[in-house]
Subunit: 430 residues, 3 copies
């Protein structure tokens, strides 16, 4: 925990940087950034989704997006934070339920972590659009915010976590701590959100008419308002910038300013790389529909930003751009795959967050200027890569199993999907 | 005034914290936060109202909301600030008109206070929507920004104010200064705005067709765009966060970081409490229309945030949540009451700002962890409660009387309401 | 360059203030402000334009605006920054291409300057709306971001620049450095953008039907959504505030806090002055259409803010207001002139940015409290005025000649304008 924080590691996960900073120098403007993040991400998802669904479901999607952060707030207050950052064992925490016993200096940390948790949960909302029941929506978003996501943060971002601590290895007489590295959450936030998204969409089944009854070929269901969707997209782009920027903005030591600037620069270049790649790929007739597509390009841009989250503080500019390009490719591939599997993910959130997240987790040990395989090509860099793959596998397994249990339980209980008559009319009554 | 500020009190009102901070440590990023606030609150109200009125009046409401902050800026520059923070007596200030003689170190304070003043004025705009004349709109918003609101801030937030200074009492040999406490303006900003709102709507009369000609029962006039209204709502939620966050963000002393974090946490929990309460109450058939209502829930959330403004720096988490719940209840009750009185307040601004403001002023002396009745139940806490009630009564009386004079004068002069033919067609010509 | 920065001048241009601050005290929150600026300006222009064009071209204008900052980012990374701030001669820089050899402490400076460059390029987008080809759009915005704009910043904002360094004069035995002053870019950013805007619109020719075939009189083409336009407007107003605020927010020396506050206050008053002037002028039958026009007032407000960019740190409040009034007048005159010249600038971007920019450049030496003609009326103040006029002429000539070459080349190559059949249907295929 913060107040006992003593270890010094080369690459701290974000939560521990924040700890140090907030307790040592309470520069309260960070809070403003955090609340910006919170409301910005919520509003961004809300409008992206409102524009991408059919007109009749606009209000329904808006109310869901507006509410999940509030229910999530209560859930994270009562349970989630305790599991994530309470004192416990390397696997799970178990104190500070409902803020009980929480030291005054830790409220800042709670708030910051809540913003991340709410984002992880709200990623799912797009995948279940236009057919998910209101009560089921509240239940699953509370579970994601209060249980599934917090445990992963305990592993990767808490002081006790088994992933962040890794193991100590000896190389030429030098002792090196090697573990899982994920600065701004490509794996912790976006992979978890992306997996829950896919499983949610899988369990819920496609919207009526999304796949042809005869040959099963996909039938496009067009959103009703590109302007609203693009408003949401602009807001999300801003939100991602702010995530990477403000997160790392917390480092106030003298030597760290340059790192921060590099990170933000990488975020711009990764966004450019992702947007450029999807724009061009979609224009070719092999990968897309030969058009300049706004929503595809926007998603490519977002995927590039997701991909660079994990390593934006450790990459040279050119690798920032390349990570964005890889994110753009991952987006195109994942979208194609999801559609092949006949899963209906109206916002392509799986491709953005899972596709981008995986790229993010894997590029860190490859491109890191400090210890990356690309620069070093030695056993040590291999261990970094191995730990990163282990983290990927662990997060994937946890999120996948828990999501399967959660969403298929909701399905079995018959409360997940709205009745047929509401889906074909509108969801305002449920 | 700032430069002579020497007193040290346990609970300073917001303006004095700001004073100390800005003069001692000119961390200029606060200005960015302030301008965010200014434009965010204006845009939030503009879109909330644009969505909630009929399509034909959209442009009219947008231009009014865009302009009032500019006219208010001139009015606060020339007169308002002088009355609020000029040197004078405990009741009113009288120097610094048009910035004349204003020390260079006070410009920051002017700007910050202007943002609050503009917000107080713009609260009214929703209540007079779809029928208020353009010139009358400019007049009343200049008067609120330039006179009605500034005097209240002089009482409660200036160094000389009779409310903030209160009196010195003796308890067991200890001398204690007890006065009115309102950290981020539940009473000073929101009650004043809410009262002016109610009186404005009362003087203007309901929109044509709002109440049935026969039995006088209310007839709902539906807004034309839930997405615009919800855009406004999201922006306002962000604005409120920023208000409480950035305001308190100005405290840069070492020991204060924890207080700030608590305050922002309380704002989240109050918003959750308010949203949850109105969502559930509206779903019951006794208090609402048995539906999940987006606009009601949004208003409940905003009311919770208004309610927690006054004491968010002094409450434990659970009282943050409870204050939000009380705000939600106050919203439902006030809305019902306003409708019973046959007053047409299209945005329910009275319920949000007056209802929430009263809850905010009264909860401070009850729930404060330092001196609240709930924790202490002694004579001293009774005095705090008494001063808070006195402040409530004084602010209520001043704002009510002045608003009655202002709005009924406009009515008597026959310039308040647009002619019948414009109201039934559209307001673009007036 | 930053790391070698040693000179001390009374009025540093913005880029050098930023240098000092970022390298000495890496207060990383500035990055968050910068990215806010970037995304905010892009989104603001996008929605202002989306609302002001015909419904069928909404998506096209949104994708263009979303993409130009990404292409601009790559262009500024590879070339632009090197020309602007690389080591070279007083006219142009020539190092740091693609960040090669860029010191770690300079990444912050790169990012900050990129935001300005992207804004200069995106100003043009409104003028070419509804008829510019997609590929041509990408080409010209890359050239503006990568070449035309950077050279001007080298002159006026880099350490070596001939405009900023000016010459040393002797007055009564005192040696004084006098050069071109442009704190937040009235000339450097807005004049350059405004000139490119006008030339672009001129080369492209008016939209089909914009001027009557018979008598050549203008025929209004109405935008399809005032709410979207006003959303864009609100965002831009916020963006301008943030530009002037955060820019100057970088000054963290003890004595500078007051200057910053003054600057932000001046920005509010200039916005008020500009809005007020255009509102009233447009209502008279001589200058406008006798109506309260929302878009005209909004543009007036923006022009006031553009005009005060250059000197907002040096004006007394009343000159802040007056500069806004002059900006409003310049807007009305320029709009009228552009229309007389039968140039179709759908968003009136020439009037806002060129009109306001010229007022900004010229008011500094007149109204500056330190050395302005108005206060001093001596030879020294005359030299300041002369250098300012020289800067104006140099920037005008450079931007005009280069823009003519750029846009008329695109026209000659026959790739600038979409084919007739797309323009009358929609631009989604090109």
């Amino acid at each position: 925990m913060c107040e006992n924080f003593t270890k010094t590691k080369t690459k701290l996960p974000i939560s521990q940087y924040i700890c140090i900073t907030l307790t040592n120098r309470p520069c309260s403007l960070y809070y403003v950034c955090f609340v910006t993040l919170l409301t910005v991400m919520q509003a961004g998802f809300a409008f992206l989704e409102a524009g991408a669904v059919r007109s009749r479901n606009t209000v329904n999607i808006l109310i869901k997006n507006a509410l999940d952060s509030f229910f999530g707030g209560v859930s994270y207050w009562l349970v989630g934070y305790a599991l994530a950052f309470g004192k416990g064992n390397p696997f799970i925490g178990a104190s500070y339920f409902a803020h009980s016993g929480l030291p005054a200096t830790m409220y800042a940390h709670w708030f910051f972590q809540f913003v991340f948790a709410a984002t992880a949960a709200t990623i799912v909302s797009g995948a279940v659009a236009e057919r998910c029941d209101f009560t089921a929506y509240i239940i699953y978003s509370s579970v994601v915010t209060g249980f599934i996501y917090p445990v992963v943060t305990h592993w990767a971002w808490s002081e006790e976590g088994w992933l962040v601590n890794g193991r100590t290895y000896q190389f030429d007489g030098e002792l090196v701590d090697i573990g899982y590295n994920d600065f701004a959450g490509s794996g912790v936030v976006h992979m978890v959100g992306g997996i829950a998204t896919f499983v949610g969409a899988l369990a819920l089944g496609p919207r009526i008419g999304r796949f042809d009854k005869g040959d099963g070929s996909p039938v496009e269901i067009r959103g009703h308002s590109i302007p609203f969707a693009s408003l949401g997209g602009f807001i999300l782009v801003f939100g991602f910038f702010a995530f990477n920027g403000s997160s790392q903005g917390s480092i106030s030591g003298e030597g760290d300013g340059a790192t921060v600037a590099l990170a933000v620069t990488n975020t711009v270049l990764a966004a450019s790389g992702g947007a450029f790649t999807t724009l061009v790929l979609n224009k070719t007739k092999y990968f897309g529909d030969s058009k300049w597509s706004f929503l595809t390009t926007l998603n490519g841009c977002l995927t590039g930003m997701v991909a660079v989250c994990a390593g934006c503080n450790q990459f040279k500019s050119y690798f920032g751009f390349i990570t964005g390009v890889l994110g753009g490719i991952a987006y195109m591939v994942t979208t194609w795959l999801v559609l092949k599997l006949k899963v209906d993910d109206p916002l392509d959130a799986t491709a953005v967050h899972f596709g981008g997240g995986v790229v993010g987790v894997l590029t860190v040990p490859l491109f890191s200027y400090d210890y990356g395989v690309f620069y070093n090509w030695d056993v040590k860099s291999g261990y970094y890569l191995a730990w990163q793959v282990a983290g990927l596998a662990a997060i994937f397994s946890w999120a996948a199993v828990l999501s399967l249990v959660l969403f298929f339980s909701l399905k079995k209980l018959n409360i997940f999907r709205v009745p047929y008559e509401y889906e074909v009319k509108d969801l305002s009554g449920v």
